[in-house]
């Protein structure tokens, strides 16, 4: 690598770097303001990344979700290598794909990449990934039997070619998805975000007399990489292993995530050898996705403030056995891969607690539970997503927060909004007393959320739950959180992950798991125990 930090004086360098981050944040703002998808706009389920001409990321929007860490540069590098080499890009092109193996691990996540031309030269790329309202197929969740039931797959294709929209592709999309106007609207919002980014970048180039991005990219990536490596170097070398069991289908087929973390000098390698094979339910993760959800907790523990770009990820490598739960191959179903990705941190922190105990968190009552409701209401078809969080894991020096998730970060849908959109009546939303794992620092409480079908027709429901037969695991002597539970009244069997119907008058009661504790409970301060009793947080 060229050493180019010295090309820029520290002040100019600080200013250019913060401007690049501001540019992707501006683009992110444009996307959020104009998108329809609830998860994009309310839960920040999107990312905008600015890349150089090699596809290396230089700046990522500061509010994007972790599942997209490093994904856009991987996608862009793949586009350059296997689909559109450098000479096949023209100004005004826009490439789209939702291929889970190239993009973010399931079909609703659409990647949109635009080239940036400045003074007739291709100087870089800007890309956005966002969760689209729908991609066709069965209702989103764990209910699909294979990849093909999960809707439309668009291999990398020019959605816009030199400014000319590919109407065939737009027509195909429109004909295959629920809520086509919203889905197309969101794709257009992504394009608008890219355009906004390109406009601002060009302005910055002009004001600062830059003609290309290479030197700046080198300097940024080099600096970031060096800082990340310094942080890793301060942790003790060694191999740290952890075995973590997840619900799987919530009945007999549990999954094992086997993790071995090797810290050696300034590098970290995570090896998932020994992890379960691909699961028949659609909870399988692809390589990109596994990488993102492994690198994220590592970054949080080691160097939370280092900006996101290629340099932050060079020191971190991840491997998982081919065809396993964490490196699934076609045609394994992938729709609800978030359930699996959301638990990798538990295993990563479990292993890291042996090396850097003061920097990690005990297990959360994640993954976040997802509910999708579909049916007819007010003479219209609705598809309503909502999310529920369990308790947050305890941290050294701090209890876990109640009803908060790591690593996903998804807001709830207000009860009054839900009742306005779909024919349900919410009957309870409360903290679950005694659900947190105890310890010197206790976990956060889980929640109970119950609702009834008060319409005249059955509601199609896709549900994703986790930790109903397993628990959030305590760290360093801390107690486990309480398992979650799912009940339907009148009582009958109901899937923990998958599709069913909620008939008129039926009530579904969801109890989410609590977070785990950290450290031995004999060390807990008496005043804290007294307060927990007074507030009835503990039984």
């Amino acid at each position: 690598m060229r050493s180019s930090t010295k090309i820029f004086d520290p002040v100019t360098f600080s200013i250019l770097w913060s401007r690049l981050i501001s540019i992707v944040d501006e683009a992110g703002t444009t996307l959020q303001r104009t998108s329809f998808s609830t998860v994009t706009r309310e839960s920040n389920d999107f990312a905008v990344v600015l890349m150089d001409a090699e596809g290396r990321s230089i700046a990522q929007s500061s509010i994007s979700v972790p599942s997209f860490l490093g994904v856009l540069p991987m996608l862009t590098k793949a586009l350059l290598k296997d689909y559109f080499p450098l000479d096949q890009w023209t100004e005004g092109d826009v490439v789209m794909t939702n291929d889970p193996w190239l993009c973010a691990g399931h079909k609703p996540d659409i990647g949109i990449v635009s080239p940036i031309f400045y003074k007739k030269n291709l100087i870089g790329f800007i890309g956005t990934i966002a969760h689209s309202p729908d991609m066709g197929g069965v209702l989103w969740g764990a209910g699909s039997r294979d990849l093909y039931e999960e809707g439309l797959m668009i291999p990398p294709t020019k959605l816009i070619k030199a400014g000319e929209p590919n109407t065939t592709l737009f027509n195909i999309l429109e004909a295959n998805v629920r809520a086509p106007l919203q889905t197309i609207g969101d794709i257009k919002a992504q394009i608008a975000a890219n355009d906004q980014g390109i406009k601002s970048l060009k302005k910055m180039m002009q004001e600062n007399n830059l003609v290309e991005l290479n030197d700046l990219a080198d300097a940024i990536i080099e600096k970031t990489e060096q800082t990340m490596r310094d942080a890793i170097r301060s942790a003790p070398d060694g191999d740290y292993s952890y075995t973590y069991i997840t619900d799987g289908d919530g009945k007999e087929l549990k999954c094992t995530v086997q993790t071995k973390i090797t810290i050696k000098g300034d590098t970290i390698h995570v090896d998932y050898e020994g992890t379960s094979g691909a699961h028949p339910l659609s909870i399988n993760a692809v390589k990109n996705y596994t990488y993102a959800y492994t690198a994220y907790p590592i970054k949080c523990a080691f160097s939370p403030s280092v900006p996101n770009n290629d340099g932050a990820f060079y020191p971190i490598t991840v491997t998982a056995p081919e065809g396993s739960l964490l490196n699934a191959k076609k045609p394994s179903p992938l729709g609800a891969r978030n359930i699996t990705g959301n638990m990798l941190h538990s295993s990563v922190f479990g292993a890291l607690s042996q090396a850097i105990p003061e920097k990690v968190q005990a297990d959360c009552g994640s993954a976040c539970w997802c509910v999708v409701l579909n049916g007819m209401y007010k003479n219209k078809e609705y598809v309503e997503y909502f999310f529920l969080n369990g308790g947050y894991g305890a941290r050294p020096g701090m209890d876990g927060e109640s009803v908060l998730s790591f690593p996903t970060n998804v807001a709830n849908v207000p009860i009054e909004v839900l009742e306005n959109d779909v024919p349900i009546l919410v009957t309870e939303k409360s903290l679950v007393d005694g659900s947190a794992g105890d310890g010197q620092w206790r976990g956060g409480l889980g929640q109970r959320f119950a609702f009834k079908n008060v319409g005249e027709e059955a509601i199609n429901i896709s549900i994703l739950t986790e930790k109903t037969i397993t628990q959030a695991k305590g760290l360093l002597g801390g107690g486990d959180g309480l398992s979650g539970d799912i009940r339907i009244i009148p009582e009958r069997p109901f899937p923990k992950k998958g599709l069913d119907k909620l008939h008129p008058g039926e009530e579904l009661i969801l109890t989410l798991p609590g977070g785990a504790g950290y450290g031995n409970k004999s060390k807990r301060a008496k005043s804290k125990i007294d307060n927990d009793r007074l507030m009835k947080y503990i039984k």
Partner: protein, 674 residues
């Protein structure tokens, strides 16, 4: 003070007093008497802005408060929206609910989203709750039931019950405080209102009585967060409306200057000792938002506070003021703020033991500030101490010169503010290039030129009284009340009779308020707006409704207005998607105050405004000889090319190269940037 004998403005500033802020008010009144010979019983209006309520929420110094809600939903107030405000910080803490779990009570009752009563309110349950309220010696109660925005009957019954059973307890009903959909936000606002009500009540009551005792026979008015004036009575009922009482004044002054300067789109930039704020005047009107939060756990972090959906002037605040500390971070970058040296130890140049370089130190080394004329020459400061701090903390570790470090701080701070302002303007769907800028606050005029250049803003105005602009805004606001109603329907499926009915009811409510505040209810100004969006979107845009009675014929006009606004903001529209109306708002305002902002002093002809020429550092040139002017002697019509420094008591205006400066008829400094 606006003196209506000669239509002139008169300025005076005095410090806030703790713990009893009323003393500060009386000091101010005394000062006006001493300076201008105006005694209290001659004054018609006193307009008051206060940070009392914001501080009570931040410091958690409100009253012991209970909360009543629908049974089964007692924890909604604590659970919040389940969103982390910082995705990389494993060690974050969420803001604690203002009412603890043991004082939150559920009552059996249920109303549907259409307002039907599904479960009647349990009198027995209510009785048990009021017993507990008495037992626990609670001082205030917030009441927020599910879907009460659609039918407030149960909340009203609870209110009556509390009034009878616990007459000493103050209560807030969500259907009166914030009748809008979204239970957590409504609960949060209602709990906060209850939490600060007893203290606001006590404070305003005391102030009113004492002013009267001192001879004040006029009217005491309070500035609210949305830039309107309200009465003491209204403020006591809904104190959360005053959360942003202070900063709102700056934006209202912006509205005034937008009118007198004939600039439709104005970016107001206010920079003080610890923070910088920016707000937007668009098409002559301030941008108002409902996305406001109070009591943030992390001051500059969105989402780390308690939401209060009240109309506030939309403002961004970043941690960059004169006292903000600069340092070299782990990446070897020069970083400024958000930590501040405050007033103690203060910037290194104060010589009070602060050894960190601050923005003020940089501005001093660059020659922007004059060590002899700091705060009008009332304070001694040391350039050498500034240079020492810059050398130790920046110039050595980063291997750059002291001047480069100082210029670096100045540039980084400007860049941070420009970036924040740019994102803020874009969030509104606007383009920064279409704006002019007005700058005030102690450090505002020092940095405004640099910020304006970064934003490609061509015109910059430094108004007279730049140090007290917020207070000037107080004199320019009308008495007004906004009444709101949540009614979520698609545009095509509205029952227009129903709409006309509730709009009229809201208008009546507003008029009633004007009558009660002694305003003329015939000469009122009416503005009816609705927050709307494409069905399925999460962000609303506010559209003004056509005048008079609405009916199916209004649909096209409303649609047209929405699409025009949407197109303007996002350069596109989605014609096929249905439009959804969410919150309806009726603003009833009294007469606009008849105040002209003109400086009191007469032009002193014959005095040379050029004070001296000193060495000043600019980005491209390095140190160069630069003229320094005395603002008080710059006459209307003065014009010259930059660079130059213009000094006044509370601030200094820095003008860079390639610019044209002139003094307009109202004695504002107008700068054109090329």
């Amino acid at each position: 003070m606006h003196d209506n004998r000669d239509q002139k403005l008169r300025f005076s500033k005095t410090l806030t007093t703790y713990p009893d802020p009323t003393l500060g008010i009386y000091n101010g009144i005394k000062k006006i008497e001493e300076l201008y010979g105006v005694v209290l019983d001659e004054i018609e209006y006193i307009i008051h802005g206060t940070t009392l309520i914001t501080n009570a929420v931040i410091e958690r110094k409100g009253s012991k408060t209970a909360f009543i809600t629908t049974k089964g939903f007692e924890d909604v107030l604590e659970i919040g929206r389940e969103l982390r405000y910082d995705i990389y910080d494993l060690f974050l803490t969420m803001p604690k609910a203002l009412v603890p779990r043991n004082l939150r009570f559920g009552v059996e009752e249920r109303v549907s989203n259409k307002g039907e009563i599904l479960t009647p309110l349990s009198p027995q349950g209510l009785h048990e709750i009021s017993q507990k309220i008495i037992e626990n010696k609670v001082e205030a109660v917030g009441v927020c039931l599910l879907n009460s925005f659609a039918n407030a009957r149960h909340e009203k019954i609870i209110g009556q019950h509390l009034q009878e059973k616990c007459p000493d307890v103050q209560f807030s009903l969500s259907s009166e405080i914030m009748p809008e959909i979204r239970e957590y936000e409504r609960s949060s606002a209602t709990a906060m209102n209850a939490y600060v009500q007893p203290l606001t009540d006590k404070y305003l009551k005391k102030l009113e009585i004492e002013l009267k005792e001192k001879g004040f026979g006029g009217k005491l008015l309070i500035m609210d967060s949305g830039g309107k004036l309200t009465t003491v009575q209204e403020a006591r009922k809904s104190p959360i409306q005053l959360l942003e009482s202070g900063p709102a004044g700056g934006a209202i002054a912006g509205v005034y200057f937008s009118k007198t300067l004939d600039i439709k789109n104005l970016l107001c930039f206010d920079m003080g000792g610890t923070t910088a704020k920016a707000s937007i005047i668009f098409d002559g009107k301030p941008e108002i938002t409902n996305n406001f939060e109070a009591g943030r756990v992390k001051r500059f972090k969105k989402g780390s506070g308690l939401p209060v959906r009240i109309p506030v002037i939309d403002m961004i605040e970043i941690g960059a003021g004169g006292g903000s500390i600069a340092r070299a971070d782990q990446l070897g970058l020069l970083v400024v703020g958000p930590d501040s040296a405050s007033s103690t130890p203060g910037p290194a140049c104060y010589g009070r033991g602060g050894d960190n370089p601050t923005v003020t130190d940089a501005d001093l080394v660059l020659g922007y500030l004059d060590p002899e004329y700091f705060l009008g020459g009332t304070m001694n400061i040391s350039v050498e101490k500034s240079r020492d701090a810059l050398r130790e903390k920046l110039s050595i570790p980063l291997d750059i010169s002291i001047e480069e470090a100082a210029m670096g701080i100045h540039r980084v701070v400007n860049e941070n503010m420009a970036n924040a302002a740019r994102v803020h303007i874009l969030e509104k769907g606007m383009d920064p290039r279409h704006f002019s800028m007005i700058a005030f606050g102690g450090a505002g005029p020092v940095h405004a030129f640099g910020v304006a250049k970064l934003l490609n803003v061509k015109e910059l105005v430094i108004p007279i009284g730049a140090g007290v602009t917020s207070a000037v805004g107080f004199l320019l606001a009308p008495i007004a009340k906004e009444c709101i109603h949540s009614h979520i329907r698609n545009l095509e499926s509205l029952d227009w009779d129903e709409v006309n009915n509730f709009l009229e009811r809201l208008e009546e409510e507003g008029k009633q308020f004007l009558v009660e505040s002694g305003e003329d209810d015939k000469a009122y100004h009416l503005k009816r707006v609705v927050d709307m969006r494409y069905e399925g979107q999460g962000h609303d845009i506010t559209i003004e409704l056509p005048e008079d009675k609405l009916d199916t014929k209004s649909i096209d006009e409303i649609k047209k207005r929405f699409i025009k606004e949407y197109n303007f903001r996002y350069n596109r529209s989605n014609d096929d998607i249905a439009l959804q109306m969410v919150t309806w708002r009726v603003l009833v305002s009294g007469k606009m105050p008849d105040v002209v902002v003109k400086q009191n002093q007469k032009d002193k002809r014959g005095i040379d405004p050029l004070k001296k020429v000193r060495e000043v550092y600019f980005d491209v040139t390095g140190y160069m000889k630069c003229p320094v002017y005395d603002r008080y002697h710059l006459a209307t019509g003065f014009s010259a090319r930059g660079p130059m420094i213009i000094e006044e008591k509370e601030s200094t205006t820095v003008v860079g190269l390639n610019s044209e400066v002139y003094i307009d008829n109202d004695k504002n400094i107008v700068i054109h940037i090329e």
